[in-house]
Symmetry: C2
Subunit: 293 residues, 2 copies
């Protein structure tokens, strides 16, 4: 923490208060927990002093904080969404990626988001994640998973894919129109490290605004849209996993993504695809994995 | 915000990220909301960068945040309690008191806490807030409400009193042993600004540790005890209201109050009281109110 910031922020108020709160942390707390919570307490206190938060504003914050958990369910993680709106998930991702890239430069990571499912089924290479009706464009997606150091193919990598349907909703959110695991699937790369299957060109969508995240977005006078994107999580026992999102280059929300997850190298081109009656667009996307240390 | 702190904290990471998030706040957001939320975003980002928060730690934080609202009910405000444990309510109170005292020096304020009730009944002067069985010592409490500037008595002030029972629980928390509004009551000062009634000598108690506040206290290796205290809220249409707590001078937790609410001038002496069969202790406590501007 910057001492100068603290001194400035504390000048009108008891200069010992924050240190006293931090100093009450007991000896049984481990070093990392102590560091994280001390820093959190100092920054929350600095914020409170800097802005001279009033009791009414603080109580509004308490009610808002309680509303986050109350709006959350096993299939709706409003706490995660609030962090997304504040840019925290993308910042944590940047930090993690910095740590990972200090041993090389694999594919950029991006945020997991609240819609990943641990239950997505394995599907056959060449199959389709599209199970239900839609109004979208079908894409033949394919590519290769490669080793960062040797540039050789990575066989048996798990390519976990999920996306919203053409109405902007994930299966979880749309039980009337979508069956479980629609537009989700895991694929194993073949001996050449290749994967291929059919999916939809993704559609831009709004975060759900009927809960605390909607309240916050309204307070911030911000739109609730994410650019269209495909979620990917690529893993293999011998490599560091990559969680990422890829975005069509023609999306209008690329520069104002409401969860701040777009990075330049994650923007991809969907191109016309001919000669396959199953798809009208093609997306080739290769993934680079860094070996575990 | 201190620019130097931000520059230091951002040095390893994208220096434009936080500004970008803050700059997405739209034109319809009013100035105060913009200032509060910009400061909150900057401090949360500085915290995240300073400590290089990992995805697992962040996700633990998300789960913890959701648990706060999920543990809250109409009679249990766990969000408020988490703020208390982090010292935030006491800090907000200090700031509010600074603002109030810039027009004089009325009685020190302290935090409202989660146990105030809007439904406490008015009681007769000379009555008792003790409705149910207890193991405590009965106190004859009395005093005068005075005008800060004229030093004259304030008649018709509302003296709102609440306290935990001798088992450390408030009526809300203890439906098997306490009826509604046990140890709560509002009194109106008489023409001499005086109030008098019977209550209990307060008992130290533990915050409830079966929810998120207990998880946080355990992480911080801190005890969950508050020193014994009496809650007071004194109001009158022509004066600025005072919310405060008073603490017996012989309490063992005065210096380690787990919500950081003790101030020196709020520590009071309960003295032996003779000649009244209804009480064994006496507490004389005067309150100074500042006129509204």
């Amino acid at each position: 923490m910057s001492t100068s910031a603290t001194n400035t922020a504390e000048s009108r108020f008891d200069p010992k208060f924050t240190s006293h709160v931090v100093d009450t942390i007991g000896p049984a707390t481990d070093d990392r927990t102590r560091a994280v919570l001390s820093s959190l307490i100092r920054h929350l206190h600095d914020f409170t002093r800097e802005i001279e938060l009033t009791p009414d504003e603080w109580m509004m914050g308490v009610r808002f904080m309680n509303s986050i958990g109350q709006a959350s369910t096993p299939i709706r993680n409003e706490g995660l969404r609030i962090c997304d709106v504040l840019g925290l998930e993308s910042l944590v991702d940047e930090i993690a990626h910095k740590h990972a890239s200090e041993s090389g430069s694999p594919t950029s990571s991006s945020i997991l988001g609240p819609f990943w499912s641990p239950n997505a089924p394995f599907r056959e290479l060449g199959g389709s994640v599209i199970q239900d009706k839609h109004d979208g464009q079908v894409v033949y997606m394919h590519g290769q998973v490669l080793d960062l150091e040797t540039k050789k193919p990575v066989a048996n990598a798990v390519f976990d894919f999920w996306q919203a349907s053409s109405n902007g909703k994930y299966d979880f959110q749309d039980p009337d129109n979508q069956t479980d695991n629609n537009l989700r699937g895991k694929f194993r790369t073949n001996e050449e490290g290749k994967y291929w299957f059919y999916c939809l060109k993704p559609t831009a969508y709004s975060l759900p605004t009927d809960g605390p995240a909607g309240v916050l977005l309204k307070l911030l006078d911000r739109h609730p849209f994410r650019p269209a994107h495909i979620h990917l999580m690529i893993s293999h026992d011998s490599y560091k996993p990559v969680t990422t999102q890829i975005f069509p280059s023609d999306d209008q929300y690329l520069t104002t993504d409401t969860v701040f997850a777009v990075k330049d190298d994650l923007v991809v081109d969907f191109v016309p695809y001919e000669g396959d009656p199953k798809a009208t667009l093609e997306l080739k996307y290769d993934v680079i994995l860094a070996p575990k240390a």
